[in-house]
């Protein structure tokens, strides 16, 4: 199932499983996720709240909050080394230095009692043998590189003195100061306004072009995906349900969930929006809501909300079927494409409230 590893594979995740104790036994929040990230590539992990995308990204740095834990049986190979079998010291040398993380909320991820320059310099000093002065200089240079005007003065400020957009730039500077091979960004622009988001995405694109870093971007925003990704993984209820190069995913989604997400998203560029005489049509919806991880339906976890589902979907769990080069989808429709006609009953019936 996993595509063959080529010489450029930087990260190779196999059968990752994260469980949490629930009322009725262990709940699998991430259930057998496998994917790869090649050097210099941008992979987007998309899905709605609770689909397991953030837990997947935290697992890569072994930061899953207890009582959650990564089950044995899976592997996270980073440049050929299995991160799940490293001891703390070896892991620390990977974190921050070769693999770094940018969090969604810069205001909670930054230390409020240290200046931002000190926080970046600390990263440098922990991982390299360099003087306090050199580390500080590297911090200031990095702040300038992420587009902070008057970096020497800003470096002496505390997080509360900076705006949200600037704090996110500081987070990015901290992640990139040691030029890691892989940067994991968990919803890096979700808390920001749209004009500031545009600045940050532009910055990430520019840094990626300059440094050849690989980027694993976790987001729920398909607009951000279209602008940033080379490859996309769509997650639903703890699993990857579709994986494709970005153009193929948007042009021909195979999994009905992906199709639903793409159609449910309101767009400002649709022709209806510029028709002055009528309000745009109703938005397409996905009925129902994401099932709780301890109450997943049998077979395909999406079947309750799917307009195409038939008896096979309840009986048999779909695997990730290959649908094209590097394009896979977890849906029986791949094998039985003639069934891709929505049920009259389900489309005519009233929307199920979510």
């Amino acid at each position: 199932m996993t595509p063959p590893r080529d010489s450029h594979t930087l990260l190779d995740v196999q059968s990752l499983q994260v469980t949490f104790p629930g009322a009725a036994g262990m709940v699998r929040a991430v259930d057998g996720v496998s994917f790869t990230v090649a050097g210099g590539e941008t992979v987007c992990l998309v899905g709605e709240s609770g689909c397991g995308k953030s837990l997947t990204s935290l697992s890569l740095l072994r930061l899953v909050p207890p009582p959650g834990r990564i089950e044995s049986g899976g592997h996270i190979l980073f440049e050929g080394r299995d991160l799940l079998s490293l001891d703390e010291a070896a892991l620390r040398s990977v974190r921050g230095r070769q693999m770094a993380m940018i969090f969604q909320e810069p205001s909670t991820a930054l230390n409020p009692v240290l200046t931002v320059g000190d926080q970046i310099a600390e990263v440098v000093r922990v991982h390299t043998k360099c003087s306090r002065r050199d580390a500080w200089q590297q911090a200031v240079d990095m702040l300038a590189q992420v587009g902070i005007a008057d970096a020497p003065a800003r470096a002496k400020q505390y997080p509360h003195e900076l705006s949200g957009g600037m704090k996110q730039r500081v987070m990015i500077a901290m992640a990139l100061v040691l030029t890691p091979r892989l940067v994991i960004a968990d919803e890096p622009t979700t808390a920001l306004d749209v004009t500031i988001q545009a600045q940050i995405l532009e910055l990430l694109r520019e840094l990626r072009a300059r440094t050849d870093m690989a980027l694993l971007l976790i987001t729920h925003d398909l607009g951000v995906v279209a602008e940033m990704a080379s490859r996309v993984l769509v997650m639903y209820a703890g699993r990857v349900v579709e994986e494709a190069p970005v153009a193929a995913l948007f042009a021909s989604p195979h999994m009905p969930y992906t199709e639903g997400l793409l159609r449910a998203m309101p767009r400002i560029d649709s022709a209806q929006v510029s028709d002055p005489d009528a309000l745009p049509d109703r938005l397409v919806t996905i009925p129902g809501t994401v099932p709780a991880p301890d109450a997943l339906p049998s077979g395909c976890t999406f079947r309750d909300r799917c307009a195409y589902a038939w008896d096979r979907c309840a009986r048999e769990e779909p695997v990730l079927y290959q649908v094209g080069p590097a394009h896979r989808a977890r849906c029986h429709l791949v094998q039985e494409p003639e069934r891709r006609t929505p049920h009259a009953a389900s489309t005519a019936s009233r929307e199920v409230a979510a």
Binding site: E48, V194, A247, I268, D269, D275, T285, I286
Partner: protein, 332 residues
Amino acid sequence: MNTTPLLSVRGLTKHFPIRTGVLQRVTGAVKAVDHVSFDVARGETLALVGESGCGKTTTGRALLRLVEPTSGTVQFDGVDVLALKGESLRRMRRHMQIVFQDPYGSLNPRMTVGAAIREGLVVHKLAEGAEADRRVAQLLDEVGLRADHAARYPHEFSGGQRQRIGIARALAVEPAFIVCDEPVSALDVSVQAQVVNLLRDLQRARGLSYLFIAHDLAVVAHMADRVAVMYLGRIVELAPRAALFATPRMPYTKALLSAVPVPEPGAARARILLPGDPPSPVNPPSGCVFHPRCPHPLKDAACTRLVPPLEEKAPGHFVACIKEPPTSVPTP
């Protein structure tokens, strides 16, 4: 048909005082909303958009008097809302409701959903006893929930369902006007679409007017008849939906629209990147509040001096920019 606007807001201003020192002297003011004027017609959705801190939420609350405006007038169906006191203010609130962004934070966790919806009916003496129960069941059905949901508590519902409860509660008192304050921002895409459709269905069925406050321009494009763009406490552009999205005139609106990521891989983007962050509303720039970040080619010293009035540059299209010439639109 009544063509006078349902809601008419003129020069609405809200300044929050800044107090400093042991004596808590007022040393300045946050100019959260500064001379905002607009109308909402019967059955219309006016969207108020802008980025965090632009004053859109304060505007919505000030006109319901959830925060007291500093100055200005609000006429609702011919009544001066800002002059009302006590019982008459309470009676007016029946006609003007609000749906909040965070439906969990706005529902009492110790009150069943049925009790929360029923409260408004009882307070306004619209129904009681079995009649109130019947109305609650009817409202739950109208927002796509089941009658038996009335006995449950807010924590038993998903985010989308809670937002439906918030809507049912607002509808209970049969208002003519609802302020929707970021009603879908906290919801996932698939659920967001359901709630947007619900709001539009209810509007059609009941002839409601909405002030739809949002930062997501794509949602606004699918909800609003007209759109007002706010920046630093002021409306900088106000236009019918199609005109605003197709031919924005204010440089800030253009930048805002161009910043929205388009879900189309490889699409060419003419993005206008604004430098820096919005300035503080404590000490807003002189003249046009947008001038320090403005990319308009004709920007000059006048922009730093003159406060641009919100002028009608094309029929129904109001722009606050002294460098934008009026256009004559050919009349058919």
